[in-house]
Every structure is written in structure tokens, then in C-alpha cells.
């Protein structure tokens, strides 16, 4: 069954669980199997958390947009948010990380490598970087992103339902 869902939320941590639940019920209504619903809800949650973490702070208009589309055997999750100059360093890292993850035929390999990196953590602990790898490995989705001229960051995950 095909269809799409759109949501807009304030960039607040409390909203993440609600988005996850609404995504799960939308995907269930489209006839997706329980495992796919579970993993895609995780994907939505991870992307929304990232958008809150790296989105423009303190701007009333800086809403997070979430869209889910089920069509042509694909589920496409897109999460959008406003960013500013401070996010550019993060975007360069995001670009490298996504290309690195997608450089493995099996995302499990990226997961194993990232786990090694996590074990080699900084004394001053920073981010683990595991979220994106989980999207690829546990969510079985292909990640990508772009930044448009309105400085809206669009991060997407595409799952082939086969």
C-alpha cells in the first residue's frame, strides 16, 4: 500500500518519541512487516535526534520536517532542518561518513569498524558516530543528504522493501 506522511516538530528532545510512534503507526497502516516498522522507526528517531543536535539553535522558525513516503517498493525517510555556518564542519564530516558507510557492500562491516573506533575513544569522550552506522546496518537503509540554498539540510534514508 502506497502513501506518504509529513510532520513538523519543534527541535525538542521530548518530541523524538512521539515522531517515532507516529512513524510506526503510519508504516504499520501501509502494511509493512513488524521488523521493517521497528527498524524504520529507529531510522526516523536517529535522523530526528541528529537534526536536533546539529540544527540551528534558538530560532523560532527552525522546525524539523519529517516525511515518510512508501512507493514503488521503496520507503524514503527525509528529515529536514535549518542549519547555519556552525554546522558546515559537521556537514563535511557527515559527507565523509556517509560515503565511508556506503563504501561497504555489507553495512555490518562498517558497524564492526565503527565499534573498533568507539573502543579507541578519545580520553575526552565525544560523539560515538554510531547512529548513522545503525541506520545503515540495523535499519538496512541507504543514507544520503544535501544542503539547499535556503540552508535547509535534507538527510534521507531509503529502504528497498523488495
Amino acid at each position: 500500500m502506497e502513501g506518504s506522511m509529513k510532520l513538523e516538530i519543534k527541535p525538542l528532545w521530548d518530541e523524538v518519541e512521539r515522531v517515532r510512534e507516529e512513524s510506526a503507526s503510519f508504516l504499520t497502516s501501509k502494511g509493512l512487516e513488524k521488523d521493517a516498522v521497528f527498524s524504520l522507526s529507529m531510522v526516523v528517531g536517529e535522523l530526528v535526534e541528529n537534526s536536533i543536535k546539529y540544527g540551528k539553535q534558538g530560532d523560532e522558525k527552525a522546525l524539523v520536517g519529517i516525511s515518510l513516503d512508501v512507493s514503488g517498493g521503496l520507503v524514503t525517510v527525509e528529515v529536514t532542518n535549518l542549519v547555519d555556518d556552525t554546522a558546515y564542519a559537521h556537514l563535511a564530516r557527515l559527507d565523509r561518513t556517509i560515503q565511508w558507510i556506503r563504501g561497504f557492500q555489507d553495512p555490518f562491516e562498517a558497524y564492526v569498524e565503527r565499534m573498533k573506533e568507539v573502543a579507541r575513544r578519545q580520553m575526552e569522550d565525544k560523539e560515538s558516530g554510531l547512529g548513522l552506522v545503525r541506520i545503515a546496518y540495523e535499519g538496512r537503509a541507504i543514507l544520503d543528504f544535501f544542503l539547499d540554498e535556503s540552508e535547509i539540510l535534507n538527510v534521507s534514508a531509503v529502504l528497498n522493501l523488495e
Binding site: D95, R120, Q122, M123
Partner: protein
Amino acid sequence: MYEQSPPIDAQLVAGDQLIPVDTRLTSRYSLMVRFLNGNGFKDGAEFTDLLIRNQGKEIGLGPCRLICEPNIDGYAGRIVFLKEVYDLKRLVEENKVVRLQSSFLNVPLVLAHKKRVKREFKNYTSDLTYDLNVYKSLFDKLDEEYAEEAQSIRDSIQMAIINTEGVRFHRFLDDRLAELERMVKGFNRAEHESHGFYFRRQLWEIILTAPFMRRTNLKPRGYAGDSEMMSMIYENGYRGKSTFAKLMHKHPVGHPGAQAVRNRRKVIREMIRGVGDQRNPSGADPLKILSVACGPACEVQDIVQTAQDPGKYDFTLLDQDRNALQEAANGIDRVQRRLDGQVKVKYLNESVRTMLKTPNLPGKWGRFDFVYSMGLFDYLTPPVAAGVLGKLLKLLRPGGELVIGNFHVSNVSRYYMEYWLDWVLYYRTESDLKELLRGAPGDDVSVFFDETGVQMFLHVKRHESH
């Protein structure tokens, strides 16, 4: 090393006693130690912990032992670790706690991964590994037989072997690939992934012998399809340290997927020359061309062939990889020297994923007569591909043309690329590719293929009145 390395603020722990020491790096995994406050210890003395303070943080490196060495500058000897072994160089220089044994954390996970692999596939991989090792030892033995000959003699003997036994070996590889395809073509994506992972673990040593396979698997620039891989495909030759390595290198670069890459270079050359002849027959107004994710841009060297050509074209080459742009610049520099002319080229080092943020791109870069991207859309998912395509269309002049390459879903080299080369593309059908335009009006749109049928091109011709 320790004379140059800075002192590390540390304390050894023996029971409840804290012993202040001056330590310095002496090797990646050991420290020179000098006891302060007049303490002295015998060779083999053991300590329950070594506490070091680095960049404001204290960390315990665990049980360690003193190995006494001749007293130099007051240093008593080295401290080595008895349980956890840490990379002290990275700890001091990068502030990273790297346990030598950390890779073993994932052992149960990796071992369990093989449970997902079908018995038939394990048998296939095992037989293939055996067969390839037999071939490898035979070819290596032959290499040894004539190793004492002069270089020119060695080269001709090797070529004779390649032209006889090498041809038979390549047929063997063709047959095994056909068998692989029969076995995996019904798999879903998750099965392809786990079986591919298993396959490469089993064949890793063989894969590393071939320069092309090594590079596609290791991806030293962090992504597949870098300009060096493209150069290897264009060359389509024999590279490697042994006859076996050369044969393993040549086989994938001779496969239809690689042939399609060579073909698309010719297709683009012919199209650009055709558009140039049509739109700019006198060569007075240079044809403005944009190549997106240009790589080594070897096709530019193919296009600019005669002394008149440099003035006919105005190229803009965009790539995320500075090395690729440098290689493109080196190639164009050779053309300039050969023709004794100046080719107009602008180099842009940018990722397409962030390029879209630039407002008024036509105002910044100008508009183009011909925009093309050969090997980029194979990596872009639909939302990003559609965004990039929309932006590129805005860069076309009226009457301008845009050509986008994408490997077709029917790529006969697909399983070779995925299983052997760890090289995964975003494949599309004709309609998938057209759908990316999202109904852009006022343009002539068509899809065509190269001779192999692997390389698909989306061709958009903007109307003159647009």
C-alpha cells in the same frame, strides 16, 4: 625516541604506595622511566598500575613491569604492560586510548555472521579459494623459474604465459563468476550483503594481490570509484607484482562494467565535439562545458586534440576530491604542452551534496552549453539525485544539453563488482532515471545506452526558447 619525546606526568602504583616517575615514550608500546624522590627498583619489579595524566585527564594503564636497561640520563629502564597493551604514541599525540587488543571485542559478532551464509555458498567459496590458490602457486612457481633472466626476457616470457595459460585462467574465472551469479541472483539485499562479506573474508589474500581489487576494497580515498580506479579502468592493462597478480588485476578491468566506463568517455567526447561543431562552428565563442564529479577528466584530453581546439572550449571541472582535480590538471597540462596552447579550465573543489546550497549558481558560475556527469548519479539516492539534477538544469543555456550517466539495473558485472570488488552502486531503470527530472517542462528528454547496455545516459536538451 625518548630523548625527543616530551616528559609524561605519571605515577606507578605498588600496593597502596604511589611512586612519582618521569616517563617518556621510547617506543609505541613502552615507556622509559626515571624514578623520582630517590626510589629504586630491581629488574622485573611489578606494579599494579601506571597512572598517567595527559591533557588534564588521568588514566590508569594497568599492571606493568620494569625491565632495567643501562642507566642513561638517569632513566632506569622500560615499563612494559602485562595485561592491556596501549598505543602510547597515539595516547600522547592524539589523546586517544587505543587498546592493541580492541579488535578482538568484535570477534563473537564477526564469527556469528557466518551463520547467515548458505551451505551451498560456503562450498562454492571454499572450492574457489582452493582452486585460486592452486593457480596462484603454479603461476608463482613459473615466475621463479625465469626470475634470473634479464628484464626484457622476463617480460616476454611473462607475456607468453599470459597469452596461453593466462587466457585459460581468465576463462576459469568467467565460469566461476557465472556460477556465482546463478547462485546469488535470487538473494535479497540482506543476503547479498552477508554473503559478500563472507566471500571477501575467505578470498581476502587473493583480492589483495591484484592492484585494482585491492584499491576498490580498501578505498584509500574513502570512497569507491576514485580517479586512480578510473585510470586503471581506462588503462585496461596488466598491473601487479607477479603473473598471477597481473591476471587478477586484468580480469575485472576487462569486464563489461569497466568497458562501459571506457565507452562513456568516448560517448561524451563525441557528443561534446558534435555540439561544438553545431553551436560553435567558427570556434569564435568557446563552448561552455561543466563536468560534475569530473574525476581525472581524461575525456577533456580526448576532446582537445588539434592546435585549434583549445580556443573552442571553456571547461569547468568540479570534484570533491582535490587529488582528482590535480590529476585532471596534470593531464590538461600535458595537452597544453603538446599543442602549445592554453586550454580554458576552471577547477572547483566541492561536494555536490553541499554545492546545492550556493544561491544563484548561474550568476556565480555562468550558464553552460553542455553539462555532464558520468559516474556520480550511481551513488545518489532519489532525493539527492533529483535535487542535484534540478540544480544542474538551471545551469543550462537555452539550447544547451545535459547528459547524466547511471549504470542500468541489468549490469552484467553487478555481482562481480559487489562480491569481489566491494563496489555497490545505486542502479536505475530508464523510468527511474527519467523520474528524477520530476517533470521538468520545456525540454526534450531521452535515454540511451552504450554498446554494452550497462551504461545508461539521460539526455536533456533545453529548448532554444527556454
